[in-house]
């Protein structure tokens, strides 16, 4: 509209791709220092339908990942047609199950996927009927080694602490 009406908020300190926990990333109050500019008739000039972005020159520098895959077959074994939502859900559930083997609760694992610099990729929409989605979990964010080995997983997390839970009223 005329004058644009620029608004912003909902700052995140960090967030995994998809913001899967819904409440949400690491949500915080904060501030932004911004600069605005204008490209007259830019929507038509560049064929813009949705906003476009540039990456920051300063980003977390994690290079090693353990990558979990999901396909469009849901938890009950039902086949879905190229459904990347179902596929990404499976990738997330697979990562959560894996992290539980190291002593994390399901909720702690879910929380990590929601807030850490986890990447989500649509890896394939070609092998009909299966979409393939992948979740990249950075290995260097953990205080211990999460790679699989012949000896099996070690329960580094001893329990005793978990996310507070408030049952429905």
């Amino acid at each position: 509209m005329k004058g644009a009406g620029l608004s912003m908020g909902d700052l995140h300190f960090s967030q995994g791709d998809g913001e899967i926990t819904f409440c949400g990333a690491i949500e915080m109050a904060g501030w932004l220092h911004i600069k605005v500019g204008l490209i007259k008739d830019g929507v038509a000039k560049y064929g813009i339908r949705n906003p476009i972005f540039r990456p920051s020159p300063i980003t977390p520098n994690y290079k090693d990942y353990l990558i979990f895959e999901g396909i469009s077959v849901d938890e009950r074994g039902k086949q879905h047609y190229l459904d990347v939502h179902v596929a990404y859900r499976q990738a997330c559930l697979n990562a959560i199950e894996y992290l539980r083997k190291f002593g994390y609760s399901g909720a702690q694992s879910y929380s990590i996927l929601g807030v850490a610099p986890v990447e989500g990729h649509i890896s394939g929409v070609v092998d009909i009927p299966n979409a393939c989605a992948t979740l990249y979990l950075p290995t260097e964010i953990f205080d211990f080694d999460i790679m699989p080995n012949a000896a099996g997983p070690t329960r580094f997390i001893k329990g005793g602490v978990d996310l507070p839970l408030s049952p429905d009223k």
């Binding site: 608004s7 995140h12 300190f13 819904f22 990333a25 605005v36 929380s111 978990d162």
Partner: protein, 240 residues
């Protein structure tokens, strides 16, 4: 020093701040005016306007009224901007409030919002993450710490009435296909007098414009006069 156009006070209710709104609607009055080329600072509440607290109970996540969100700073008039123009936004810097170096993450109850894995995690839970310069860790999730990539979950422009009407028709038609779905598609955009100035208790409508990637969160069609949002220092590329 660049001017701070919108200030917040975490010791006071966000409802008392008349530069905060929670709906994308053309009738929300502008609270500041800038020119292309200007740089300035905007302070923001967290998306719940301070409802979620730094404690060890998830009662607030369970009890939150999701029709009140998101608490946004603005809108700001950009001189000369018209429908069809691209607004270029450089995020030069971004950070947490110095007196409030923590953030929260949670799962909504399936009875109040739900979430991506709500069938597996149907009850309200919360984790608190302490911020230490570029890094964060949580007393609720041991054994993990990482650097953050700070970014606004939402940034956008107000729609004109025509675009707002298109959103409402599109979404109302969609809701009708499965009205009880969880996560809930709770409400639609306001056709009524919008939330201008301080957020009000009622009536409320879901706010649509969640930024993707850098300005993470999808549904950018929501952002009326399309714009480029350039991610600057520590504001990312990939993406709420």
């Amino acid at each position: 020093m660049p001017e701070t156009l919108i200030k917040i006070d975490l010791t006071k209710s966000a409802y008392e701040n008349d530069m905060i709104h929670n709906r994308w609607h053309p009738d929300v009055p502008m609270v500041a005016k800038v020119k292309p080329g200007d740089d300035f600072i905007i302070e923001t509440y967290d998306w719940t306007g301070g409802f979620i607290k730094n404690n060890d109970s998830a009662d607030d996540v369970r009890d939150i009224d999701l029709t009140t969100v998101h608490f946004l700073s603005g809108p700001i008039e950009v001189e000369g901007a018209e429908p069809g123009d691209l607004l270029v936004v450089d995020l030069l810097d971004v950070g947490p409030v110095k007196e409030s170096l923590w953030g929260f993450n949670g799962f909504f109850s399936k009875q109040n919002g739900g979430g991506f894995l709500t069938d597996h995690f149907p009850q309200a839970q919360k984790s608190i993450w302490d911020i230490s310069r570029l890094y964060t860790h949580s007393r609720h999730v041991p054994g993990v710490q990482f650097a953050g990539l700070i970014h606004p979950g939402l940034i956008g422009c107000l729609p004109d009435q025509k675009l707002l009407d298109a959103w409402n028709k599109r979404e109302v038609d969609f809701i009708a296909t499965n009205p009880t779905r969880v996560p809930l598609w709770r409400t639609r955009h306001s056709r009524e007098p919008p939330m201008s100035g301080a957020p009000r208790a009622t009536p409320r409508r879901r706010s649509p414009a969640r930024a993707p990637a850098p300005c993470r969160r999808a549904s950018m069609a929501a952002i009326a006069t399309s714009r480029i949002c350039r991610a600057g220092r520590r504001s990312i590329s990939r993406s709420t």
